[in-house]
Amino acid sequence: MPGFSSGGVGGGVGATTFLVGATTLFFCFTCPWLSEHLSSVIPIYNAVIFLFTLANFCMATFMDPGIFPRAEEDEDKEDDFRAPLYKTVEIKGIQVRMKWCSTCRFYRPPRCSHCSVCDNCVEDFDHHCPWVNNCIGRRNYRYFFLFLLSLTTHIMNVFGFGLVYVLHHQKELDTPGAAVTMGVMCVAGLFFVPVAGLTGFHIVLVARGRTTNEQVTGKFRGGVNPFTNGCLRNITHVLCSSQAPRYIGRWRGRQTVEVQPPFLRPALTEAQLEAKVLDNGIQNDRHSTRSKSSLDQMESQSADAEAPPPPKPELRYPGLPRADTEESSLLTEAPPTPSMYKYRPTYNSPGRNHTALTHPNKSSRQPSYRSEPSSLDGTTVVGGGVGVRRGGGERGEGPGGPGGTAGGVLGGMSGYSLTGRSYTSYPSSLVLSTGGSHSSSLRSAHTAHNPLATLHSEGTTDTSYKSLANQTPRNGSLSYDSLLTPSESPEFESAAHELSPQNTPLQGYTSPFLSAQIAQQREGQLLQGSATFSSPHKAYLRAVSPPLPSSAGPPETHYLLQHNQDFSSRPPRNPSSSSSSPGARSLEPPVSPSTSRPVLANHTTSKPGGGVKKVTGVGGTTYEISV
């Protein structure tokens, strides 16, 4: 099926020509005789079916499939260092990953995918159809489906009535009418096989409530589809729901509401009054409210919203003048961030350097942050600053580009390069488990909040690495995001192929159990992969990788994944993805405790240097922060 649909742009025009041309000939040569000798209803019926086919074809071709507008800059609050590549969300009890789209600058809603042909994220992405030269998504799937049904019917009609004609003209096959009819029948017969096949395929998809993308990438092979509501409901949803609105090209009514101070404020609650009394002043109170409440938010929430880091208004809204009032000073000063939080990005720095220099190593770098080069639509590379992410939308930057500057940038950042060594593996494990809440979870670790609660906030690990997700194309099956279209980062796939020998194709919708295993695997994979980096930080990496006593392993991982059930460690397996059949998504076993050992590596690598502060984190691990 996928091969069939990937005809190319010319396929659309050619197919349309065939369709219209053959039908016209049918009407001109075959139908007059039919209406005379059989019934005049026949041409009318054929005409109706043909018009219906054309109408659906036009709607499928020209209708916006449900393109998401690009997110504005303000929406993306996190620095690229800290932002995970995936956020996990629970849908009807099933964990679903939402991937960060670096082109569109948001986390893709479930079932949304980025079409590289159209360069847009499309809602309920089905596939990109070259025949209509358009994406098929939420808004036009119904028309595409009806087009297929009506086209199949039309082909059958043409073939059937043509056959009737030919059978009645067996003695006069050399007449133009019969000859043309036979030609039309041939065309019809030729197209019937693939079209009927595709139609049958989509009937099954509709009944099961899946998109082509999900079916071909084998998302639900081993698990449950969270998007299905039963066969009948799925069908009515496709055929009977109201036309979804478009998001782009809307007429925006002018905002006529003016915001004028003075502003009303709600009455302070008891707790807030107490805090005010105890604190030194407004500044402290605000800061604590912001960080603590955002922590609470993370702890209590199992869905996808991330606690925003303390905002830096002067960066966001440069027009804001620095008035000397007390309130303004609150806005213009960036509230001091806990040092742990500030230094988190360093974790990524060794990898980033290497990614720039050594292309193949990208895949096994960990954890996936949004800024990871080539993991995000082949876009931007490393760089230390906030500004890097702004370049994310550009596809032209290759991995080798800013590589030279990356080291300089990173070196220039005070403290960043030094902090890499001992604590990063610990945050990595935290990150693995907590995904979207990573920043606040680290904050909580630093402030000795109960880390288990923050870990629990994410149902499963979601800092899955793009490498895992993109390993599937090797088998000939397509990854979720690159179905039937050029892969977003083909070089990434090959890189993954080189370096990650044993990882499983990643399913977006997995049971918590499976994702626990995958979390383990990723941990191990990360550190194995990181050992191959050639860089100035090699010493650090080597220090991290040597295995620790296995007794430390299971408790650590168990602690990390304590919210997942049925965790059991099994012996590692090294399946090569090429050996598994395309689309096969069996539950892969987790890595052994040995690969989880590096999580504790920071115990051994603490080397206090000048101006280095040791911080004790969760689980007795320590890490250093240079001050």
Binding site: A71, R252, P262, F263, L264, S294, A305, Y317, L320, A323
Partner: protein, 155 residues
Amino acid sequence: MFHNLQELRHSASLANKVFIQRDYSEGTTCKFQTKFPSELESRIERTLFEDTVKTLNNYYAEAEKIGGQSYLEGCLACATAYLIFLCMETRYEKVLKKIAKYIQEQNEKIYAPRGLLITDPIERGMRVIEISIYEDRGSSGSSSGSSSVSGSTAR
């Protein structure tokens, strides 16, 4: 010559934006999280905010409801080869208009007086409800007025 009167007027400036994310716990139907964001804690009462979001959720549920009306709409559209879309507004669009009116009204009555503004989620692809938080910049009239006066006198 500056008019001190103008500059003595208080003005608000955009300080921050909060994004209310979608609640996907029931699938891909449009629903927003009613969780109260911490940034709004000192700006608006929790109940007001939750009412707004719940009302919006109800509107969206109404828009996406699959029932008699949407089915008839579909049949009519098929029968007219979809030409009916040129003149008729779909059910969803009708509800979206109601939502826009509701948001406008909420902004006028509740949010703007508190220095907040809600952006219609449709402008963000229905992914988030964006709430802009404004801060009172205070009157900057006196200082700049005097400096301009002194500047002009210096000349």
